[in-house]
């Protein structure tokens, strides 16, 4: 289960030149601003775009090698593609849409698998409807199910949430999380929304101007100073895997992570449930001494690892809290006043934490 991609192509005023790999099952995010070349990369993997030079290997099968003259047409690539605009066939029922790829797959998913996907995506009541009678979120789920049932070797998700409003997005995100935890295939998630990446991805490839700007696990890349300056304005912040450690009588839930404990308002989860926490850079204050008489529940001792200038006014401070990396965005004036430098011990005051569930370890 691995995918290797290397591509080169010249467009007028824009050149695509990058290589990366999806080494294992799980979600890799292809992150970057609009126009960075993300969709072009996905189209090249699906075969609907043919780059000038490149080599793509999906699970040991070479589907593109311009040097050897190999080009496997899209219909034989077995790349499940979930388009931003769903692209359901309007003249077919939801059921026929779901089975379109399945009927054409060389290795067909069993009836049990079909029932499983229908249950996973909550499509049971929609089977006999026409696509035009579906909401945006429902269309997205059907598109996802259709791609999954074609027995793909890689799942390509091109901004599956971008065309949805916040409410629909919240409706479909849990399904994507379950998919990530239950499906055993590599998935490439195209996104320009950091929140989405933070919640879903295991690894991340940052693309800027057709080139790879950063690559690694979300936990590392999202707290790197390079990303902070790259991403520009989006909400930069750390992603931390955590475990429910205790339910306290005062209404707080203690979440243990590799480097300490964070307290959040009561979460109805069993002890040991795994979570993904996100702490945005703006939500961390820094102090040189342990603050006293403060309302914040979370004060973490940490060490400065590096400082970068995110813009004219702000500085991003990378922190090590045990083995966990955090990132704080403060003003450059504050950084100078505190005399921050790599190695300096500080206290990170965490104002708020966003909690996203890892569905596999949650009771259904």
């Amino acid at each position: 289960m691995s995918v290797e991609i290397s591509l080169q192509h010249d467009f007028p005023g824009f050149a695509l030149d990058l290589a990366f790999a999806l080494p294992k099952p799980g979600v890799t995010a292809l992150f970057g601003a609009s126009g960075a070349g993300k969709t072009t990369i996905v189209n090249a993997i699906a075969g609907t775009f043919r780059p000038r030079r490149g080599r793509i290997v999906i699970n040991g099968r070479v589907v593109l090698d311009t040097e050897a003259g190999i080009f496997v047409p899209p219909a034989q690539r077995r790349a499940g593609y979930v388009f931003q605009d769903a692209r359901l066939f309007p003249h077919m029922s939801v059921e026929d849409n779901l089975l379109f790829g399945w009927r054409r797959a060389p290795a067909k998913a069993s009836a049990e698998d079909i029932a499983g996907v229908i249950a996973l995506l909550g499509l049971g009541r929609l089977l006999h409807r026409r696509p035009r009678a579906l909401s945006g979120g429902e269309k997205g789920r059907v598109a996802l199910g259709r791609a999954l049932l074609s027995s793909p070797e890689i799942l390509l998700l091109d901004e599956p949430l971008a065309s949805l409003d916040a409410q629909r997005r919240a409706e479909i995100l849990p399904y994507l999380e379950r998919l990530r935890d239950e499906a055993s295939l590599p998935m490439l998630l195209v996104s320009h929304a950091l929140e989405e990446v933070a919640r879903l991805a295991d690894d991340i490839v940052v693309v800027k101007g057709g080139r790879k700007a950063a690559e690694g696990s979300v936990f590392d890349v999202l707290t790197s100073l390079e990303l902070a300056t790259l991403a520009g304005a989006p909400p930069v912040g750390a992603v931390i895997p955590a475990t429910v450690a205790a339910q306290r009588e005062d209404g707080l839930t203690a979440l243990g992570f590799d480097g300490g404990t964070l307290y959040v308002t009561r979460l109805d989860l069993p002890l040991g449930a795994q979570l993904r926490l996100r702490i945005r850079a703006e939500e961390i204050l820094l102090a040189l001494e342990e603050p006293r008489g403060i309302s914040a529940n979370n004060v973490l001792p940490a060490k400065v690892v590096g400082i970068g200038n995110s813009d004219d006014v702000h500085a991003d401070v990378q922190l090590a809290c045990g083995a966990t990396r955090l990132i704080a965005r403060i003003t450059r004036a504050s950084a100078a006043r505190l005399g921050l430098a790599p190695g300096k011990p500080v206290y990170a005051i965490v104002k708020s934490v966003t909690v996203g569930a890892m569905a596999a370890s949650m009771p259904a």
Binding site: A46, G47, T48, P73, P74, A75, Q76, R77, R78, A79, G80, Y81, F83, D85, R87, F89, P90, H91, F100, G101, R104, A105, R146, A147, S150
Partner: protein
């Protein structure tokens, strides 16, 4: 279906022979012209349909040098006088024409003075109507759907029959109905190419013309004209129904 139209025609004729035509709505000559018109138009439209679909697909989906020229050629019958088309067909396919002579001697096919020739002339003249309607509906289809089908494992023919064709169906139906209605009214090309032979090439418009040539034939011409109006109304209603179904 052409044969079922013909057998209906025969059954009707027998009925008339038994009871006398006065009890029927149409005289034998009138129903002959009507069913001949329907048969010729049917063969013309459905014979040309696959070619029209291919031409529409070519124009809607591909780019090639000389596309404007091909587009223009397809539309020539719209602007050329039908009599000229009939004349050109006669020159090419007449038994003394190069192509016509070859068809007759090697394949035994003769178009002149035959209802098949009338169908050929009608097919050529109504071809642009079909291409135009189908092309519009093809261009209205989201190309992304074909791409989606591709990533789901559907090859070219698979996509054509299971995605493109069903989605173009309203346009195909509209094209067929328009072409059929236009074909029923064809006069110039038919009379020039295959002449005015009762029971073989004398369609409704030719029968009206023939009636007017005889003294006192106005009543006959009026009956045939009313019949034509009735047919036109039926087809306009059909077209309306198809369009409404396509929209819903």
């Amino acid at each position: 279906m052409a044969s079922s139209v013909a057998s209906l025609h025969r059954a009707r004729y027998n009925l008339q022979a038994q009871h006398g035509y006065r009890r029927m709505f149409l005289t034998p000559a009138e129903s002959e012209a009507l069913f001949l018109s329907l048969r010729i138009s049917f063969v013309a439209v459905f014979g040309a349909l696959p070619v029209a679909f291919a031409a529409a697909l070519l124009l809607a989906r591909t780019r090639f040098p000389g596309k404007t020229l091909v587009d223009g050629l397809i539309h020539v019958p719209l602007v050329l006088p039908p009599v000229a088309i009939g004349f050109l067909l006669l020159m090419a396919l007449g038994t003394r024409g190069a192509l016509g002579g070859w068809l007759l001697h090697s394949l035994g096919i003769r178009f002149v003075f035959s209802w098949t020739g009338a169908a050929l002339a009608s097919a050529i003249i109504t071809f642009p109507f079909q291409v135009r309607a189908i092309r519009l509906s093809l261009e209205a289809i989201d190309r992304g759907l074909s791409q989606a089908a591709q990533t789901l494992g559907a090859g070219w023919w698979d996509r054509l029959f299971n995605v493109t064709l069903p989605l173009a169906l309203p346009g195909i139906a509209a094209g067929v109905i328009t072409a059929f209605a236009a074909s029923l009214g064809e006069f110039g090309a038919i009379i020039t190419f295959v002449s005015n032979i009762p029971g073989e090439t004398r369609t409704l418009p030719l029968a009206i013309y023939t009636a007017l040539q005889a003294p006192g034939g106005e009543e006959q011409a009026m009956r045939l004209s009313l019949l034509s109006i009735l047919l036109a109304l039926i087809f306009m209603t059909l077209a309306e129904i198809v369009q409404r179904r396509a929209r819903s």
